[in-house]
């Protein structure tokens, strides 16, 4: 049983070995802290309850659009016109349900002078009921605001209320202008509301509007498929999820087939409805990444544990005389164990405190830099499971360390130690144990170094690559556009004319922009090369009209003749649009190299034609270079096309500013007002920031792996030095004898190196085996790993170099002095 006396003695002993204590506390604190943070992250993502009642009953409905061969053309897409029919007649398996659409277009609070941009979602009252939206003011949507009511009401977040309306309590009941409609604010959602972020952690909602107010819904065709639409449900019984899917899926697909019956090119395509558990959708693919991070931190802790074991054994060896006296005075093995445990307890308690601080810093780092890539980061904190995990891990480590050291003490030899005038060696850790420690240390360090180096090099490769377009001083202006949308009752020609008029106005705006002294170039398009919201538009082309089965999906940019030069996009073949082609909406197209090579392996497709679904022939006039910017939608370069035709629903303005110049929203709005009052700048986004956002995962991977490489290398250095130094200390006398009979310093060093390299090489071989097993394991997963020879060679060379240096360092104190010092144990 440990007493206070044991701890005070332990503290005194540690105060006399500050360097040792600091090394143990720092090594364990850093690695244990990282493990605690990673445990909490994984717990939050995989296991922690969601902040919604009956979470296991919550499902998110969406459909996959399947091609004729059953392959998925688009996942999570919704025939929002058709799904509304299911909303009107809900399944009896649901106790609540709601529709949700995230607005893709930029919208602003037009009643405010600075017209701040807000993220808008359209929903039905069931959403706020299902997720128990807490309100600080007013109320949630009621049945009066359900589909069909066309009530222009809004619920704002507490963030918007405080930041843009100074938390004015009178705001509820007042009107705010969003787009071209005045909405009556009926409630303010409390900041404590944890919005289910169905599009990922980067998308949050500022304002909820009723489903009826969804402009797209008003003129939507039943056959239209839309992204960012969801059908949310709460099952009466969680076990009925599949039954619910099977109830909806055939009927929905049948309705889809009916509305597309007249469209020959759609024949054979189908929709597959699925109701994913909410937790699964929120989790996304993040658990794969976070589990790897957990494995990495566990590996670090293992390396640190090997290091600490070495240090503890060395410390125990140094305490040999004290233990001998205690043994001579009658101390039993358990007395010595208690003494070791008390010292370890003090060290691990300090390490745990440091670890909690490290974990807190890790939370802050994750929340600051990974909030857009990992879910539920706001929930990170010291909850009970995490604290219990931290305490248990620490306690288990203390017991294991104490047990290990206790086992290594040759108690019998200790008792005889004093009898041989202190010249015995009662506490020598066996050569096999030392070799095993070095071998395991090297294997773990090499494994972690090689894995980290591979990821690091892959990330650096991506970061070093030219992305394929210029982003410096390039800006995307999200436009809040209140131009009335052409009504579905209009003829195609009338709608076309309305669209043309809108495009003409936007092009006039770019003409005005170009007159501004800060502006180098301006352009208009539906999307930037990389959009702030991560969105893109797509268009289906038919390479041959007589083969409607062969289609090619492409990301489409509808733009003008200034877009390609503005971004310095390289044209490999052909030419840019002419002004005349843009004005006349000539059906010409520029495609990227990947698209060209899909059409013809040699990419020689200039002059060929691509057809729209409606049969319009586009002549290919240029081939642009591929971009090197894999995003969340595609890890490989997608097919891209650029046309000078009408803009699709969304439109954005693009600016290239002169070096050192800036422009603000007020100036932009003034210029836009010269052409039309329907357009306002919602926000100005730096394209460079957009690029950095996409590359964030690479930056993060590079930063995390660099930290891992450095940390694992430092830990390996400390550990290997600890073992070698300890080993040399035990052999000091033997080395003295060798020197006495004529061994030169270099001979001693060479001999030690030869001996030390054996367990190191064994460790490297073990690491190679583990790496091969890991590689084979990865082949069974969808993870793409590009191997680099440097990622293997450099870490392995570093470890060999480390061994050489630590061997030299550990024996330097002996070989630089005359032999008598080693013989006298000095």
């Amino acid at each position: 049983m440990l007493t206070i006396k044991d701890f005070s003695t332990a503290l005194y002993a540690l105060s006399k070995a500050k360097g040792y204590a600091a090394t143990v506390v720092l090594t364990l604190g850093l690695t244990l802290g990282t493990l605690i943070a990673m445990f909490n992250l994984n717990y939050q993502i995989l296991q922690a309850p969601l902040p919604y009642a009956d979470e296991e009953q919550l499902v998110v409905g969406s459909t996959a659009w399947l091609d004729k061969d059953g392959s998925v053309l688009y996942p999570r897409i919704m025939p929002s016109g058709l799904i509304q029919q299911f909303y009107d007649k809900p399944s009896d398996k649901l106790s609540a349900h709601a529709l949700l659409r995230y607005q893709t277009l930029a919208m602003t609070l037009r009643d405010l002078a600075d017209s701040p941009q807000v993220q808008v979602s359209y929903t039905t009252p069931g959403y706020m009921q299902m997720f128990q939206m807490p309100m600080v003011q007013g109320r949630a949507f009621s049945a009066d605001e359900d589909i069909g009511s066309k009530n222009a009401v809004a619920v704002l977040t507490e963030h918007v209320w405080r930041n843009h309306y100074n938390a004015d309590p009178a705001l509820v009941g007042r009107k705010v202008r969003i787009g071209d409609i005045d909405f009556t604010v009926v409630g303010i959602a409390a900041a404590a509301f944890s919005e289910p972020q169905l599009l990922g952690p980067s998308r949050h909602t500022d304002v909820w509007l009723p489903w009826d107010m969804n402009p797209r819904q008003q003129n939507i065709s039943p056959a239209s498929l839309n992204g960012w639409h969801f059908y949310l449900g709460k099952l009466k019984n969680a076990a009925e999820r599949q039954a619910f899917e099977q109830e909806i899926a055939p009927e929905l697909n049948s309705k889809y087939q009916d509305v597309n019956a007249a469209n020959a090119s759609e024949a054979g395509r189908s929709l597959l409805f699925s109701a994913e558990p909410l937790r699964q959708l929120l989790q996304g693919d993040s658990s794969g990444r976070t589990l790897w991070m957990l494995a990495g931190s566990l590996m670090l802790l293992l390396i640190a544990t090997a290091n600490i074991t070495n240090l503890l054994l060395s410390r125990a060896a140094k305490q040999q005389r004290t233990m001998s006296i205690q043994a001579a005075l009658g101390a039993q093995r358990h007395h010595l164990f208690s003494q070791i445990l008390a010292e370890l307890g003090c060290l691990l308690a300090a390490a745990l405190l440091l670890a909690l601080g490290v974990a807190q810093s890790a939370y802050w780092l994750l929340q600051s830099y990974a909030a857009s890539t990992l879910p539920r980061l706001s929930a990170l904190g010291f909850d009970w499971p995490t604290l219990v995990f931290a305490l248990l891990t620490t306690a288990v480590m203390a017991l294991l360390f104490a047990q290990l050291i206790s086992r290594q003490i040759n108690y019998k030899a200790l008792q005889q130690n004093l009898q041989s005038s202190g010249k015995g060696s009662g506490l020598q850790i066996s050569s096999n144990t030392r070799q095993l420690l070095i071998c395991s240390q090297v294997a773990l360090a090499a494994l972690l170094l090689v894995c980290s180096a591979q990821v690091l090099l892959q990330s650096l490769d991506q970061l070093r690559q030219h992305i394929g377009f210029s982003s410096e001083q390039r800006f995307q202006i999200a436009i809040d556009d209140t131009t009335p949308r052409p009504d579905s009752s209009l003829t195609t020609e009338q709608r076309q004319m309305a669209s043309n008029l809108r495009k003409d106005e936007l092009m006039q705006i770019t003409d005005v922009f170009r007159q501004h002294p800060a502006v180098q170039q301006a352009s208009v398009s539906n999307d930037a090369p990389i959009s702030y919201a991560g969105t893109f538009s797509a268009m289906t082309f038919l390479p041959a009209m007589d083969n409607p089965d062969h289609i090619v999906e492409s990301r489409i940019t509808t733009t003008d003749q200034h877009f390609i030069p503005l971004f310095n996009i390289q044209l490999l073949q052909g030419r840019n649009f002419s002004a005349q082609e843009v004005t006349a909406r000539t059906p010409v197209v520029i495609i990227n190299q990947a698209f060209a090579q899909q059409l013809q392996p040699d990419g020689q497709v200039l002059g060929q034609r691509l057809y729209s679904r409606q049969g319009l022939a586009y002549e290919i006039i240029g081939i642009s270079a591929n971009h090197n910017l894999p995003d969340e939608w595609s890890v490989e370069e997608p097919f891209r096309s650029f046309i000078p035709r009408n803009l699709i629903n969304n439109s954005t303005l693009l600016l290239h500013l002169k070096p050192g110049m800036h422009i603000d929203k007020t100036a932009l709005n003034q210029m836009m007002a010269q052409v039309s009052l329907n357009f306002r700048a919602a926000s100005i986004y730096s394209i460079k920031d957009n690029v950095d956002r996409v590359l964030l995962s690479n930056y993060l991977a590079a930063a995390v792996t660099t930290a891992l490489v450095v940390l694992s290398f430092v830990l390996a250095a400390i550990g290997i030095y600890g073992v070698l130094s300890y080993s040399v200390q035990l052999r000091r006398f033997e080395l003295g004898v060798r020197m006495a009979i004529g061994a030169r310093p270099l001979t001693i060093l060479r001999q030690l190196l030869g001996e030390n390299l054996k367990p190191v090489l064994a460790g490297l071989v073990l690491a190679a085996v583990l790496l091969a097993a890991l590689w084979l394991g990865l082949q069974q997963t969808t993870l793409m790993v590009e191997l680099s020879a440097g990622g293997f060679a450099v870490p392995l060379l570093l470890i060999v170099l480390l061994t050489v240096l630590t061997s030299l360092l550990s024996v330097w104190g002996i070989i630089r002095k005359p032999a008598i010092y080693a013989l006298q144990g000095q």
């Binding site: 009979i741 310093p745 001979t747 032999a819």
Partner: protein, 245 residues
Amino acid sequence: MQHPTILMQGITKIFATDEMETHALRGIDLQISSGDFVSICGPSGCGKSTLLSLLGLLDMPSGGSYQIEGKEVSGLSLSEAAFIRNEKIGFIFQSFNLIDELTVFDNIALPLRYRRQSVAKSEIEDRVMACLKTVDMTHRASHRPNQLSGGQQQRIAIARALVGSPALLLVDEPTGNLDSRNGDAVMDMLCELNNNGTTLCMVTHDPRYADMASRKLHLLDGRILDSDGTPIQQHTTALRQVAAR
């Protein structure tokens, strides 16, 4: 004229710490000629071990001159000192100091493996076996030291000291860890070696064994005393004359 095997003049050794200096040796003058058997006696702390360390180049003097076979060795680098030690000096320690991991054969062969010019394997084998024969331990060549008795271990240590054909054997309390029977046997062996021409310098506490040497030196407070207890002066002039030549 042939140089003496050992010639020390005015050798001092000072151990200094931040707070104090300890004068372990205070002007030692000593000459040992080829074939001598010198014993060094004195109480604990008189400087015997320090003198033996300096004689064996295990440590360097703080002052004075030290020649081995006419070559000044007091200022050698660690590496050079190691070569001289390897070629000219053999050590026999009180606690044998055999290396547990090596066989008897390899322990004895070790000095030859540290030679400046590498020695052929066959020659190593011949010389080791010859030494084992000298100490009558041929049958134990493949054993480990911990399989031998103390007396046997010391005989192996003697064989290791002899294998390099050194000019001088330095012997530190060779019987300190042995019983009287084994101690006598070892001393007989050393005497026989001396009779065969080996130069010996031995530190011992035991007056019985000290008397077996041809010359007996007393050490006290870092100085060599004459038999009547006064520092030796009479040799100094002669020594300096030898050195001058």
